[in-house]
């Protein structure tokens, strides 16, 4: 009896939830809402970096078919001779796929949790936050669908009107020359801009690099980045539709 009560007293004096080592840091991170959000931030930034490179590559279109097609070919030669032809792309693709999947799964799980945490809406509704912030979820869904379309259109060429393997320039022009090809792309790029506008600053916040001094700079950077990406990506279909690139 005496022993038991002494034990009890000791426990009482300790931090109640003094942690036994959690099974694994990664699992603990994934389980918590903050950790999951960090996973989204990292995967999002990875995709963002990829998009910046992608967008810059796209601009090659303005230097003519040879430039762009040559660039596309060069991409397959990166890493040679250590890597075999095309391997670099095949190494990059799983990484990107993993980023898309974790980003999407985390977003889905967090969204479900968020909706459950606010089961009843206010009768008096009020417009809340910025458009970019409010459209993160649907914008994300649109972008996910677009990625599928985009791969079918310009990677596998399944739905591409030209479908000339090894000639991305011709495929791009062909795709953007149709009203739906150009339209889908333009809508998706606007969604991308909005997504990046909130997403970039949000990632900084989630990863804890934001502070009162940096806040404005980060917001400006997010806006700038979103604008540049959107403008860069949109310039290609617009140029095609305007007949500047043919």
């Amino acid at each position: 009896m005496l022993m038991a009560s002494a034990t009890r007293t000791n426990r009482a004096n300790r931090t109640p939830a003094a942690p036994g080592r959690p099974p694994s840091r990664a699992a603990a991170l994934w389980r918590s809402s903050v950790g999951k959000k960090a996973v989204m931030a990292v995967s999002g930034l990875l995709m963002l970096a990829y998009l910046v490179a992608h967008m810059l590559g796209n601009l090659k279109v303005f230097f003519g078919p040879d430039d762009l097609n040559g660039y596309a070919h060069w991409l397959r030669t990166i890493g040679q001779p250590v890597l075999h032809h095309g391997w670099f792309l095949w190494l990059a693709r799983p990484v990107l796929l993993a980023a898309v999947v974790t980003h999407g799964v985390a977003a889905y799980q967090l969204s479900r949790r968020d909706l459950k945490a606010r089961p009843q809406q206010y009768v008096h509704r009020r417009r809340q936050s910025t458009y970019a912030t409010r459209t993160m979820r649907w914008g994300g869904v649109i972008l996910g669908l677009f990625v599928v379309w985009h791969i079918l259109d310009l990677t596998t060429l399944t739905v591409n009107p030209a479908a000339e393997e090894g000639h991305p320039y011709q495929n791009i022009v062909a795709s953007f020359s149709t009203w739906y090809g150009g339209g889908i792309y333009c809508v998706a790029m606007l969604a991308l801009g909005l997504h990046v506008r909130h997403g970039f600053w949000s990632a900084a916040q989630t990863l804890g690099v934001n502070n009162p001094r940096r806040d404005r700079a980060l917001k400006a950077a997010a806006n700038g980045l979103a604008l540049l990406l959107t403008a860069g990506f949109l310039s290609v279909p617009v140029a095609v539709m305007a007949g500047l690139v043919r």
Partner: protein
């Protein structure tokens, strides 16, 4: 024990027929040099084997500075604490609203402060109506409080070197007040709340939030539990323990309008009083001079602004009665800077009670300003001209902002209006040096007891006393009680439980059954005004007799006309109010009786008949150097006097002329 029927006004007793009983004495304070008394008391105290402590249940009612600190500390020591608060969270107790700061004799400024000086200032500030032993202990413990709070992470203001900042407060000559901007109470309370939360999570404290104590259970002459109402379900339950600690704050809300939180109430201490705990010095209330005046009949509470405003603001009213011109149109020679005129040496910095009373006098003369003529100007025009707007803003910006938010007037261009308001109650349950009431096993800590502030409290001393009691004084004295006392378990079917529960339930049913035509607030307002007019800053015999005659009438009317919709078995805030009001009626009577019998001017209150030739307060030590401890009898109360001896600080008469 059917005396709750007196509530219904059936057999109104006359408080005026009170009798004087045996003197009462504090037998717990050890003799010997005052500096060593607390050490000696702690050494002589019985200890409870740490392994046995968890077998003791201790009830703590209230989670403010005193209750929160006590609950956390007792749980840390191994006791099983059962704690109650009527708020939805322990963090909301009204200690949170204290603005100014907390005194401690650290002497960090090297400005001559010491434990002895804090002791001296507090006894003198209390106008020689407090117990020396208690006050000295308070000054000793003050030093440890700051250490404790800093360790908990209380973000006190700091200097650039990283050390704690202090300021001088309330006209004291040394800089001994530690502060956290204007939110010292909040930060200290959060420290105690966090410590308490840790113990709740550890299972050492069983918290009952939204639960209000409605009565005390006394078995074989000892406090053994409480009866409480779950405010959400309305369920009435008994909770048993080996000791009961009341940390339920003051009773300033008896006045309806006060700076207290709306739900602060006197029910816990009053029910304890009815069960045998003496009530000491009920008429000692503190009135704060710089509150924002009421704007109309809808006013539900008063908001205090820091006294520091008087450092630079000049107080005035128009010389002519009923002058309704806007302040800017009243020329300089038609203004009466009455404090500067009457007290040229101290001017606007006279003590709280003098500033408050002077404001009442000019308003009673018909020279008050603002709605209802219940206000005086506090003018910063000179300060702004002298120091510049920026300097005034740096000093008082947040207060000006608060004033503007509430009144929609810009104090930079229009003088502020201020009026005194009830702020703190020095009276409370009588306790000995161990903080034990006259009911063995019942302890009262913080503002709920009467012990340390005498007839007037110094600024920044309330927080000090609450934390001293909760963190440092109560734990060892409670240990002593539990270690010394053989307590047999009280069976859950003990008849006393059922009886007290039935009384509590009956009273609620009686209230609900009246189904009259007046709301609880309408009665409370009327009672408050009666008290404010007759038992406020200035009192006289005629007024007090009038109040003593009027209160029973009002109470009888309450039992005829009160209306409370709904039932007792649900969240019913109107019922909570009405139930508290029943106790306020009785307490108000005792306050008036205490004020009537103490025919001296003292501390925070002025008895018109007891004035010096130049109209200042005249204390009468030969007759009144005692604490008045009132015993409840169900009939006329009995007065027990505790004589106060001053061996270290010799009584002097204040003079500010």
């Amino acid at each position: 024990m059917n005396d709750h029927h007196t509530n219904a006004g059936e057999a109104p007793m006359s408080y005026l027929d009170y009798t004087v009983g045996e003197p009462i004495a504090d037998t717990r304070a050890p003799a010997g040099p005052i500096e060593q008394r607390w050490d000696r008391r702690r050494f002589e105290a019985k200890l409870v084997n740490p392994a046995n402590r968890r077998k003791h249940r201790v009830i703590v009612v209230g989670t403010g500075l005193a209750g929160g600190a006590a609950g956390a500390t007792l749980a840390e020591q191994g006791y099983h604490v059962v704690q109650f608060c009527f708020q939805d969270s322990p963090r909301r107790a009204h200690s949170i609203a204290a603005q100014g700061g907390i005194n401690a004799a650290k002497n960090y400024r090297n400005d001559g402060d010491s434990i002895r000086r804090l002791f001296y200032d507090t006894v003198k500030g209390g106008d020689f109506r407090a117990r020396e032993s208690n006050v000295h202990r308070l000054a000793q413990v003050s030093v440890e409080i700051i250490d404790q709070c800093v360790a908990q992470g209380v973000p006190f203001a700091r200097e650039y070197g990283g050390l704690l900042d202090t300021r001088s407060f309330g006209g004291v000559q040394v800089s001994r007040t530690f502060y956290a901007r204007g939110q010292t109470g909040q930060q200290l309370l959060l420290g105690a709340y966090q410590a308490l939360s840790r113990q709740i999570a550890a299972g050492n404290v069983e918290l009952h939030a939204r639960t209000e104590m409605l009565d005390l259970i006394v078995v074989d002459g000892r406090a053994r539990g409480i009866v409480a109402r779950d405010l959400v379900t309305g369920e009435i339950t008994s909770h048993l323990a080996d000791a009961v600690v009341l940390a339920t704050g003051g009773y300033g809300n008896v006045f309806y309008l006060s700076t207290n939180a709306k739900n602060s109430n006197a029910t816990a201490i009053w029910r304890a009083h009815r069960r045998g705990a003496y009530f000491a010095n009920p008429c000692f209330t503190q009135i704060h001079p710089t509150c924002i005046p009421r704007s109309g009949d809808h006013q539900s509470k008063l908001t205090l602004m820091s006294e520091s405003l008087r450092n630079d603001g000049r107080i005035w009213v128009p010389k002519a009665k009923g002058d309704t011109r806007p302040p800017g149109q009243i020329p300089e020679d038609e203004r009466d800077y009455y404090l500067e005129r009457i007290y040229p040496a101290f001017g606007n910095l006279v003590p709280r009670d003098i500033a408050s009373r002077a404001a009442k006098v000019v308003c009673d003369e018909g020279r008050g300003v603002g709605p209802g003529g219940q206000g005086v100007y506090l003018d910063f025009a000179d300060a702004i001209a002298r120091l510049g707007r920026a300097a005034v803003e740096a000093k008082y910006g947040n207060l000006f902002e608060m004033y503007q938010r509430i009144t929609a007037e810009d104090p930079y261009t229009v003088p502020m209006r201020i009026y005194p308001a009830i702020h703190y109650t020095m009276g409370g349950l009588w306790v000995d040096y161990d903080l034990q009431t006259t009911v063995p096993g019942l302890f009262a800590i913080g503002e709920a007891n009467f012990s340390d502030h005498g007839a007037n409290r110094l600024g920044a001393s309330a927080l000090m006393q609450g934390l001293a009691d909760g963190y440092f004084v109560l734990p060892p004295t409670l240990n002593d009680y539990l270690g010394r006392t053989r307590l047999d378990p009280v069976p859950a079917d003990h008849p006393e439980l059922a009886e007290v529960e039935a009384e509590v339930t009956d009273r609620l049913h009686l209230i609900l059954a009246v189904d009259g035509d007046r709301t609880p607030d309408s009665f409370h307002r009327e009672l408050g005004e009666l008290l404010w007019d007759n038992c406020g800053m200035a009192r006289d015999e005629a007024g007090l007799r009038h109040a003593l005659a009027r209160i029973p009438e009002l109470r009888a009317e309450f039992w005829r006309r009160i209306k409370v919709p709904g039932t007792g078995a649900e969240l019913n805030q109107a019922l909570e109010k009405a139930n508290r009001l029943v106790d306020y009626f009785e307490l108000a009577e005792l306050m008036c009786l205490d004020a009537l019998h103490r025919s001296e001017s003292c501390g925070g209150h002025f008895r018109t008949e007891s004035a010096t030739p130049d109209g200042e307060a005249a204390r009468r030590d030969e007759e009144f150097s005692y604490a008045a401890a009132w015993e409840y009898t169900g009939d006329a109360p009995v007065l027990h006097k505790e004589e106060l001896l001053f061996e270290h600080v010799h009584p002097t008469q204040r003079s500010y002329a």
